[in-house]
Amino acid sequence: MSKKSKQNPGDIRSVLYVEGMYCAACEILIKKTLEKVEGIISVKASISDSRVTITHHKGTSPDLKILNAHLKDHGYTLQWSKDGDSGKPLIYFENGSLLYNPEKMRSFSINFGIVALLVIGFYLLTESGLAARVMVTTEAGPFVYLLFGLVAGASTCAALVGGVILSLSKSWNKTYANTSDHNAFKSLLPHGMFYAGRLVSFAFAGGVLALVGASITSTVTAVAPVITILVAGVMLLLGLQMLNVSWATKLTIALPGSLGNNVSDSSESSHSTFGPLYIGAASLLLPCGMTLTAFITSISSGDFVSGALNMFAFAFGTMIALSFISLASVGFGSQKAWSGRFNAVAGVMVVFFALFTLNSQLDALGLPSMSDVARAFSPSTQTSATVLGDQSVQVMNMEASAYGYVPTSFTVKSGVPVRWEINNMGASGCTGAVIARDFFNGQVTLKPGVNVIEFTPQKPGTYKFSCWMGMVGGVIKVT
């Protein structure tokens, strides 16, 4: 028997998975057997998750062959992962050669393929201009709002609300379904509560906003970027937690007071609480582009019942599309073989959605973003503004559609008034209003036909303009 050395702060813990452990005696037997192995400081075996945590000195790594040789007579087999992976990283150096772990490479390739397909699908749907075909107007009824919600749920709202659902699904699966009498109803219960809360809050808010009227429209749009950035930040953290990024898993997000107690997923009593209901209700504060468009259009409906019906229909439409995300999270989350892959793919998607949303808001606020880098490498669409007659006015001509703006780059002179003529050829959703915080306050909602915005650029530099949610935009260079 080897002499055990003292535990030091720098010691490393390795987690392995064990086959053949069925009872409390197994836990003790594995612990006692492995603690006799040279180099191992302490061992903890857990029957609940079939894991063995081995503490060893920094710079050493448990030799699986030696450990299994000790356990062989007792009928246990240790492995680095549940699927028997070797534990080596995806790509590594060994004996001067660059090698890859075939199991990890296979898993990575599948996950990468799934993520790529989802991202491409999301991009195509967002860029397809499908929303332009389902435009909500002040005269639109609940059916149009339902269709608009359906499109929103599959595009812009999939990024924000879908991202939130994905990021919470792991803890919901654990809290509501990880019981001895596991069943589909319990798995879907939190998602059902989420959508119930969402439907009620949308209907109520739609009704109240219709009563209050358009006076609060500017307030809603002014605070939207701030709320969105906060939500995207939380999503980013949750996504990194799903990907088991160590520093992110150490951070917890606490909600204040009794709400925190109800939403907590770690509480013993959380099976009977209504956390997802509250989160669903609060999801109306997640300002995905089309949601705000629907709200603002619905404001003009004039009475409580019409406003409530319109927004209920819109929320119902988003629910149909978003429920696919819910079903996927429940279906894959409950199957051990797929839950790991689902968490990896969902984690990447949540991080992608969070970064996509953050980038959009940085554009909306006129701040530096990844769009600047993309723009620097994209083919130039720069257009100099036409200088009219006596050189007292510069004219910028731009076309706006559901797809975006053309062109996306202008050059003008400082000190000379600019007349920005925007031809609205079917802009909708985000593209339906333009912001350029460096030149004018608030947003300019585009009416059908030619819209004129006038301003005078004072200082040379490069300034951003975008649709009001920052999804698409461009730059104005002042020389």
Binding site: C23, A24, A25, I28, L29, D73, H74
Partner: protein
């Protein structure tokens, strides 16, 4: 005493699986009581006469292994 008058037989309770057996054997061995025989079929411990004064050590070793107890039957 058993019929060979060299050992005492104890009924052991608390054994449920092979892990229990391995654990008990391991603890007895570590306590220097490896000559004690554990009969898993009859769930008995056969303690040689020479160790009859070490019954407390045997109980300690069993307690270290888990929730096992012994009762003399012959």
């Amino acid at each position: 005493m058993d019929n060979q008058t060299e050992s005492t037989t104890y009924k052991i309770s608390g054994i449920h699986c092979n892990a229990c057996v391995a654990l008990i054997n391991m603890e007895l061995e570590e306590a220097g009581l490896g000559v004690i025989t554990l009969n898993t079929e009859k769930q008995t411990l056969l303690v040689p006469q020479a160790l009859s004064d070490q019954i407390q050590d045997i109980r300690k070793a069993l307690a270290k292994a888990g929730e096992y107890s012994i009762q003399q039957i012959s």
